[in-house]
């Protein structure tokens, strides 16, 4: 990207003249939303695992149905020794000490799907897990909505939404990341893979995880039964909700890798102060 392109972007005119090689990339709403997402994701994943522990299985059906179980955690005694198990699509793995039979947050181990270090609160506490989860679900929803409105107004959304013309550039960009190609394909502020990731997270993962979460509520089911039916019923929605969490964690890990490998301090600074230094990594991460 060139500085002249930068100058033509909305609002950049009201900023101080950027110093050579610097660009004001992230507005205050985007930065606030970003860090609120980070915090909300941490709290929602941990309190979500706490809630999950109360019924540590997922069924691809409306009501609970062991015949349609896709994931289950359990504990049993084998020769007097407790064993934790994880069953995925009928395949049972021994996961003692990590899943199924694990840290209970009270100084020992108990039958528990996810360990206390990964849940909020730590020890078994469904009531408070729900309090955390339902509070931060609002934080996530409001942050996503505020970001989308602000990004649409600033024009950022136009820069990061994946377009059909980006599709042929996805693979060349991946080859560049694999170091099998010298130059990234030509692109704007965000490269095609970044656009794909941000588009999927903003317009699929975030809305879907909120909607599947809502359908777990009997009050929402009565008000909008079509929504629950869309996901295959309440238990199926619970499975989708869990899968979306796993996908978001997957996205987070890739995102973190890109932050670290494409100029960590520059990336961090731009998401804290808004200013991004142009250089060798411009447009390749995170």
């Amino acid at each position: 990207m060139t500085t002249s392109e930068t100058a033509s972007r909305p609002f950049s005119g009201v900023m101080h003249e950027p110093a050579a090689g610097r660009v004001y990339r992230h507005g205050i709403v985007a930065r606030a939303a970003h860090w609120l997402w980070a915090l909300a994701m941490l709290v929602l994943v941990m309190s979500g695992l706490q809630i999950f522990n109360a019924a540590p299985y997922l069924d691809a059906s409306d009501k609970s149905d062991p015949g349609r179980r896709v994931l289950a955690f359990g504990a049993q005694r084998v020769g007097g020794v407790p064993v934790g198990t994880t069953t995925v699509f009928g395949l049972t793995l021994r996961t003692t000490h990590l899943l199924g039979y694990t840290d209970d947050g009270l100084g020992g181990e108990s039958p528990r799907a996810f360990p206390a270090w990964a849940t909020l609160p730590g020890p078994q506490d469904l009531a408070d897990g729900r309090r955390w989860h339902l509070a931060f679900a609002w934080a996530l929803t409001i942050a996503v909505a505020a970001y989308l409105v602000s990004a649409a107004a600033r024009g950022t959304l136009r820069e990061l939404v994946l377009r059909p013309s980006d599709l042929p550039k996805l693979w060349p960009m991946q080859l560049y990341y694999f170091r099998l190609r010298k130059e990234p394909p030509p692109h704007g502020t965000y490269n095609p893979l970044q656009k794909a990731a941000y588009t999927v997270v903003l317009f699929a993962f975030f809305p879907l995880i909120v909607l599947t979460g809502l359908t777990l509520s009997p009050g929402v089911d009565a008000a909008a039964p079509w929504l629950t039916a869309l996901f295959g019923g309440r238990q199926f929605a619970r499975a989708w909700h869990f899968l979306l969490m796993a996908l978001l964690i997957g996205y987070f890990l890739v995102h973190l890798t890109m932050v670290v490998t494409t100029g960590m301090w520059n990336n961090m600074r731009s998401m804290i102060t808004g200013w991004y230094a142009l250089g060798e990594h411009d447009g390749v991460g995170p």
Binding site: L42, A54, R131, S217, P218, A222, M268
Partner: protein, 246 residues
């Protein structure tokens, strides 16, 4: 400086993950009021709209999962079971003009509704049952609630290990919902003791703990805070939401 900020935020994130005492102090400290206040927002937004989905006969769980506290084993309840609940009376009193004392026959005569609905437990599981009984609103109307009545409180026969009685409450809006049922039958048979015989509440628009089993008395009140732990129900007193539509 930015580095320090980053390191500090990373460390606090790690701390939140690893350190139980941080999680505990956040859950129970001043921040708790924020966590609790969300309930009002959820109630305002979701409320009690529409009708819960009703299912087909073939969707019914014939072996409906037993949940809640242990089936009462005190002499009063076991005596009622032995007598086939002929001695059972449901009292409807409190802020009403005409207190009622109803036999099971009175209840069956008062109204008749059958609904196949899904029971959603706060733990996360769901089961489908065929419930038959009398709409709660019909029974409350017989007692003629006074204008000051805002909630109905369900006093139950069951108690936990420490002797604390189960109870629940609904506001009169939820109580008047057409699917809020005083159930007498489950899956075409009178309720058995494990499923809340002889009368239980069944409110499919809220989580399972609202559907109190073994109901012995319905009290109309202006305010439920003087009752038991003051939060409007047995599980509410232990931190669960009073508004259980979510």
């Amino acid at each position: 400086m930015k580095r320090r900020l980053f390191v500090a935020s990373s460390l606090s994130a790690l701390g939140l993950t690893a350190c139980g005492s941080v999680k505990d102090s956040l859950t129970n400290g001043p921040f708790r009021s924020v966590l609790l206040s969300t309930e009002k927002l959820n109630h305002a937004v979701i409320g009690t709209h529409g009708l819960a989905r009703e299912y087909k006969e073939s969707d019914v769980d014939r072996d409906f999962r037993v949940n809640g506290l242990d089936t009462p084993s005190d002499s009063v309840y076991t005596g009622l079971v032995r007598g086939g609940f002929r001695a059972y009376r449901l009292r409807v009193d409190g802020l009403v003009d005409r207190p009622q004392t109803l036999t099971l026959a009175d209840l069956r005569a008062a109204g008749d509704r059958t609904q196949i609905t899904r029971h959603d437990c706060v733990e996360g599981w769901s089961a489908i049952g065929k419930w038959r009984g009398v709409p709660l609103g019909t029974v409350l109307a017989m007692a003629r609630p006074k204008a000051t009545a805002r909630y109905c409180v369900f006093h139950c026969f069951d108690a936990d290990q420490s002797g604390t009685r189960y109870y629940e409450s609904l506001d009169l809006h939820e109580a008047a919902h057409p699917q809020t049922l005083l159930a007498l039958d489950l899956n075409d048979k009178p309720l058995d003791p494990d499923h809340g015989a002889p009368v239980r509440l069944k409110i499919p628009t809220q989580l399972g703990y609202k559907s109190a089993k073994w109901v012995r008395r319905i009290e109309l009140v202006a305010d439920y805070t003087p009752i038991e732990g003051g939060k409007g129900g047995y599980w509410e007193d232990q931190g669960y939401e009073w508004y259980a539509g979510i």
